[in-house]
Symmetry: C2
Subunit: 179 residues, 2 copies
DNA sequence: TATAAACATGTAATTATTAACATGTTTATG
DNA sequence: CATAAACATGTTAATAATTACATGTTTATA
């Protein structure tokens, strides 16, 4: 069981719906899935090569007009199988989720430290903005019940992200008041 | 401003209190800070070398008895400065926090998918266990107000972790009921 | 007391990730 | 219509992180 590097599954998951080019995939990380995951485009191209070498996807280079050359990737039956295997596999333990701000706080010992409140305020501002953004995403992406039911996983995690930000903000506000 | 690799700051932050060996540092990641961050011990040794080369810490090798040889690291004024700079620096934007389960859900489209509930249940179980664990940590680590006030950052983030897990569990429970 | 398990301390190799470099193509705009 | 900006597509180099390898020391236990 290959672990850790999840990018292959992401690419498979995206390509599964329809053949895509490297650039199409890159753009996915600027919108939809970009809310939950990030990678650099250089990584995408590397991984695509590996997936081809591995037989999980097939490439098809076409010439559009006489200038543009595009390589589309489509998933193979083997790739589909690999994707399914991952999607429904169980995790036996939770990964730690690394948050730089949380880390900083760990090293701020003194409750009376005057800079503490500043940091909390700044963080609160960032998370409020994020919360706002997520709320508008929800309205935008899921305007009706049919879309919700056909993209239920996405709907769930977007709601989760919103609740998480609400928790974050409320925690920070409480912390600010407490000092 | 060096970004990204936060391990140097963690090591500085830990060494700041008292000189420590590589192994001492490794152990920190199994208890206290291990709740919020993880690294492999091989990475610690590499980073310690770099910090020494960079003048942020100094090493001092001593022979205990006639067998054991230990190298203690202590922070230099330059290291302290670097640590302080990081601790009170502002972040301009939030990093994405990568969660494999959330990623999986993104690719599960169909609300009626029978395996969805299984996955949600399994996750719920994991987070309930984690929540329990964190609650007992809180009691253990912060038995009284004095300790709280002298380790306030740590107190705050432990509370945050607890609230986050509560959110996670409640989200999952709602999701399970919704399908 | 032999032997296994856990402690303690690192190095080397592999893989993943990010940053930097390159290069040609449309599209907008002054 | 010249030119800058953004689009599109990659490769190469550098850094970070994980995995595997190595080796000697206590401590527990059969």
């Amino acid at each position: 069981m290959a672990q850790k590097n999840l990018l292959p599954y992401i690419l498979l998951g995206l390509i599964e719906n329809e053949p895509m080019t490297g650039y199409d995939l890159k753009k996915e990380f600027e919108t939809e899935i970009g809310e939950f995951w990030s990678v650099k485009h250089s990584q995408i191209y590397l991984e695509l090569k590996r997936l081809v070498a591995n037989g999980d996807i097939e490439s098809n280079t076409g010439y559009f007009g006489n200038k543009i050359e595009k390589t589309y990737y489509k998933i193979t039956p083997q790739g589909t199988k690999s994707l399914e295997g991952w999607k429904y596999s169980y995790e036996d333990q939770l990964a730690i989720n690394k948050d730089e701000f949380v880390l900083k706080l760990y090293f701020i010992k003194d409750k009376k430290d005057p800079r503490l409140k500043e940091l909390l305020n700044e963080q609160s501002h960032l998370h409020k903005k994020k919360l706002e953004h997520l709320n508008s995403r929800l309205k935008e992406v899921f305007p009706n019940k049919k879309i919700i039911d056909n993209n239920y996983g996405h709907y769930l995690i977007l709601n989760h992200a919103i609740k998480r930000e609400m928790e974050y903000v409320s925690w920070l506000e409480d912390a600010i008041l407490s000092i």
